[in-house]
């Protein structure tokens, strides 16, 4: 890094920030309010564009006996029909267990078996119906506990041969794709020391991301053999890498593949990694020269992309009457679906952290990734933490009540602090968890009674803590290029994705801060793997932290070059120079003021007519150098798999109509320790949005499958995501700022965290209001009303 000391660095001290920490208007805002924002589906590809349609399995588990494509191929307008025989490739991010097309066996309803490429979408769809596939059905299994039984059908006899990352432990001869154990301390002694031990099970169903933009991919392999893929993705570089791995048999490597990602219409994890995009990539190779487009319908969006995995959790926690948690045992059985190439890492992440943000001397976590004949599970905002937090946080409140202690006070006593041991044995990072607890509790007037607004209603309050670490390979990295233009404006290229979270804006603010230009003079470009430098993925809430560091480094490098040029041309000491209001200024010469636009491309003319300098560019990268997955497989101890945790607390005031079960969120407060809020308005946007997404998972959303593994609600008619009527009366975002030492300006990520606390705090509030505890999500109005009715009128309900 620069090594320069001087006023420039003083200007980056926390108290003296000009752009970072302010609620700047989004730099992509104008594109979005005018309709100028281009998404993949909006791009035109000319008259030779072809359209693909997919032949899908109607069975949850079956052997493919034969595929007859002749009738489909004969339909006028059809260009090619392809099957797994044409592309017998496997792929996967963390474990290569997935096939481009199902070959011998289909493992979920909707799995791709063949594809038709035609001149128009209607012909493609019609032809897809003409592909005849003969199946021999097999016994299917949908419940993770049933799938663990020895007599359960085995989904992946080849499990032992799948390449996978070194931190996975598949168990061939079973449906266990990975088992993560994190064990520390003397569990038996811990439970023996407890005054109360509470044991129970919690169930969480599957959920859908429901980004408004469906998955879409366009791919073209040109006549020279180069493959370009335009995709709605969170992960352009990871896609290129997975494509290069999968298409290696076709002679393609990274240099032959280019992934371009314009604006993305929401991701929430659903567009991370590679799902349907692999189809676009291979189909393009079948019709060289033509672009091929594949756009998922809303139905396909529901049943053939990643889904949030279902969870059955068995939890046992002990505490002493003084409020000290003594031991925790947590078994998590994940319904991971037919392929776990990404989902197994969700299981892994949960297995490292399913204690919640608590200091517990004895723990045993066992997180089991189980194959089922349902669609592939995968990343979803929260990455396993929302799922296990429903049980953990419900349990903490119940345990507090069981020992007669206020649940917030119980959490205060046990909340983890800097330097405490993490489950896997490393040390907790700095955090403002206690401040978050106090402020969230205050915001909902915890402990004070509220009267209902309507007669007959009941009001309950709920409270929950949350934590989450980025789940990343230890060497996940970010990079950035930066260049000045003639007018002193700046282009920054990165390969993180603007998913709506405001990432481009925050990167512009970081550059603006370092280079003393207004953020609106900084363009941050969406990715193109030919032009923009490397980024692992836009997932894990790591991008502000990781890419923010890379962008800051690029800006610092550019600044150093600016000072060198000024020094070369004007002889001023580099250490005396600083940037202010788009000019270079000098500590020792108050009159010196050189506008950036005068020289950042043209250079500086010297008295003899020669020039110094030239176009100013910068580059930067960031990779954590302390992270490691090397640990004892039996205990998970010894490594440093997570870079840091972001923590917080949330509370809710819920009004319940016990007759109808209808619940209204009167107030929800969420305090999150962002380290440093680089743009408070955008951070508050994450709170408002994430909280509602979380509330929806507990109040009405869930994926419903029939006994044959078919999704019953693959649409917004019956998978209800919140409308403008379904928001809390009031959301109170609370920003806590205990700096992350290695974060840009002290920042750490918050994007996923804002939805984690929602479900357990609603469960708490419902119990507080009507005296009934729910251990299964969602807690719908129907479930509440019927539970109340059964309690009040047991005779009426005896027969139901």
């Amino acid at each position: 890094m620069s090594g320069i000391v001087g006023r420039a660095d003083r200007a980056n001290a926390m108290e003296d920030l000009r752009h970072v920490g302010r609620s700047e208007v989004r730099i992509d805002g104008l594109d979005k309010v005018t309709g100028a924002a281009v998404f993949v589906d909006d791009m035109d590809f000319g008259p030779d564009l072809l359209h693909a349609a997919i032949v899908e399995s109607p069975h949850p588990h079956a052997r493919i006996v034969s595929i007859d494509t002749s009738e489909a191929a004969a339909l006028p307008g059809v260009v090619r029909v392809v099957t797994g025989a044409d592309f017998p490739f496997t792929f996967g991010l963390y474990m290569q267990d997935r096939q481009v097309f199902a070959r011998d066996v289909v493992r979920f309803v909707g799995e791709q078996v063949a594809a038709v490429i035609a001149r128009d979408p209607r012909t493609a769809r019609e032809a897809a119906r003409l592909v005849r596939v003969e199946y021999q059905e097999r016994r299917a299994v949908f419940d993770p506990l049933e799938a663990l039984a020895t007599e359960a059908p085995r989904l992946h006899p080849g499990l032992g041969d799948y390449p996978h990352v070194p931190w996975f432990f598949p168990e061939p001869e079973s449906n266990v794709a990975h088992r993560r154990r994190t064990i520390r301390g003397d569990l038996e002694a811990g439970f023996a020391a407890a005054d109360v031990v509470l044991e129970d099970a919690y169930r969480v169903p599957r959920y859908a991301h429901c980004a408004l933009e469906p998955h879409v991919v366009v791919a073209r392999q040109d006549r020279a053999g180069r493959l370009t893929v335009w995709s709605a993705s969170q992960s352009p570089y990871t896609q290129r890498h997975v494509f290069a791995q999968a298409l290696e048999p076709l002679g393609l490597s990274h240099q032959d593949i280019r992934v371009i990602t314009p604006y993305v219409g929401g991701g929430f994890g659903g567009k991370a990694g590679v799902s349907m995009e692999i189809l676009g990539a291979v189909l393009a190779t079948a019709v060289r020269g033509h672009p091929v487009k594949l756009r998922w319908s809303r139905e396909q969006e529901f049943y053939n992309t990643y889904q949030r995995q279902g969870l059955v959790a068995r939890l046992k926690v002990g505490a002493r009457r003084d409020g000290t948690i003594t031991a925790l045992e947590h078994h998590l059985f994940w319904d991971a679906g037919a392929y776990v190439e990404y989902g197994a890492n969700v299981v892994n992440a949960a297995g490292l952290s399913a204690t919640g943000p608590y200091r517990i001397p004895a723990i045993s976590l066992e997180s089991v990734c189980v194959y089922t004949n349902l669609p592939p599970g995968g990343p979803y905002r929260g990455f396993g933490y929302s799922e296990f937090s429903f049980g953990i946080e419900s349990h903490m409140t119940r345990l507090a009540r069981a020992i007669g202690m206020d649940p917030v006070e119980f959490r205060r006593r046990n909340a983890i602090v800097e330097g405490d041991l993490l489950p896997y044995g490393a040390l907790m990072n700095p955090s403002g968890l206690h401040e978050a607890i106090d402020r969230a509790a205050e915001a909902i007037a915890w402990g004070e009674e509220e009267s209902p607004r309507e007669p007959g209603h009941r009001v309950g309050k709920g409270f929950a803590l949350f934590w989450k670490a980025p789940a990343m390979p230890p060497n996940a990295s970010s990079a950035s290029f930066l260049k000045f233009n003639e007018d002193g404006s700046i282009n920054v290229t990165v390969s993180g994705m603007e998913l709506g979270q405001g990432y481009l804006t925050v990167m512009a603010q970081v550059v603006a801060e370092v280079l003393a230009v207004p953020p609106d003079k900084v363009r941050v470009e969406t990715p193109d793997t030919d032009r923009n430098p490397y980024e692992w993925q836009t997932v894990a809430s790591h991008i502000t932290w990781s890419c923010g560091n890379a962008v800051r480094a690029a800006a610092l490098e550019a600044r150093e070059k600016i000072f060198q040029v000024v020094h070369a041309a004007h002889g001023l000491e580099e250490g005396s120079l600083y940037l202010e209001d788009e000019c270079v200024r000098c500590d020792t010469d108050p009159d010196f003021c050189l506008p950036l636009r005068d020289f950042v491309v043209a250079g500086i003319e010297t008295p003899d007519g020669t020039y110094r300098g030239g176009p100013i560019v910068g580059s930067g990268m960031f990779m954590p150098e302390f992270s490691s997955t090397h640990a004892d497989p039996a205990t998970g101890q010894g490594g440093h798999p997570n870079v840091h945790y972001t923590v917080g607390a949330a509370g809710i005031i819920l009004e319940v109509d016990p007759e109808t079960g209808k619940m209204e969120v009167r107030r929800a407060a969420l305090a999150v320790d962002a380290g440093k809020a680089l743009n408070p308005a955008l951070l508050e946007g994450q709170v408002t949005g994430g909280l509602l997404q979380g509330l929806a998972t507990v109040l009405y959303e869930d994926m419903r499958f029939d006994e044959a593994g078919r999704l019953l609600n693959p649409n917004f008619t019956d998978y209800k995501i919140p409308t403008a009527h379904d928001i809390p009366d009031e959301v109170v975002p609370i920003i806590v700022e205990v700096p992350q030492p290695d974060g840009p300006f002290g920042a750490r990520g918050v994007g996923e965290h804002t939805m984690i606390a929602a479900a357990p705090m609603v469960a708490d509030a419902v119990e507080a209001a009507v005296g009934i505890r729910f251990n299964e999500m969602p807690i719908t109005a129907e479930r509440v009303a019927l539970a109340v009715a059964r309690r009040e009128e047991p005779d009426t309900w005896a027969s139901t």
Binding site: G35, E213, V264, L499, A724
Partner: protein
């Protein structure tokens, strides 16, 4: 098979030869090249394809293009051609949108609302937006912006 249809889109006349099975959404995106109405669900649930048809919001995925013969159609591209409309400015300044995929529909729903109720209540704003799904924002920043636009004289 083809139907001769005249659409007036954002003030421009388009004479098109259309298959009756084409939806207005498909015709706008594929024939006229107006891309702000988005394909979100194709069954009227999400509101991403919202356009104004003779001043009223409709789901363009549930309207046949031939039905719109002679109609005046406004998409987001036709709003605030001379600089931003006040509601667009408010949405920009409130950082209302995140991914922006729902934005074209939401702006048009807001335009329809403000034409009928220049100073709407919070409930009226919620009701006007209730057919436009947004997964990112939690709606509050959008509601605040529209209320602010409605407070302007």
């Amino acid at each position: 098979m083809g139907h001769r249809v005249t659409l007036r889109v954002n003030g421009e006349q388009w004479d098109l030869d259309l298959d009756p099975a084409e939806t207005l959404l498909e015709a706008l995106r594929g024939r006229v090249g107006v891309k702000s109405p988005k394909v979100g669900c194709e069954r009227g649930d999400c509101g991403s394809c919202t356009v104004l048809l003779n001043g009223q919001t409709v789901r363009s995925c549930l309207v046949l293009a031939v039905e719109a013969d002679g109609a005046e159609i406004t998409t987001l591209e036709g709003i605030g051609c001379e600089g931003l409309a006040p509601v667009q400015r408010a949405l920009l300044e409130h950082n209302s949108f995140q991914c922006g995929f729902c934005a074209p529909g939401i702006v048009l729903s807001a335009v329809e609302l403000l034409a009928a109720h220049p100073h709407p209540t919070r409930h009226q704003v919620q009701e006007a937006l209730a057919g436009n799904l947004c997964r990112c924002t939690g709606y509050e920043p959008i509601i605040q912006a529209i209320l602010a636009a409605g407070e302007e004289p």
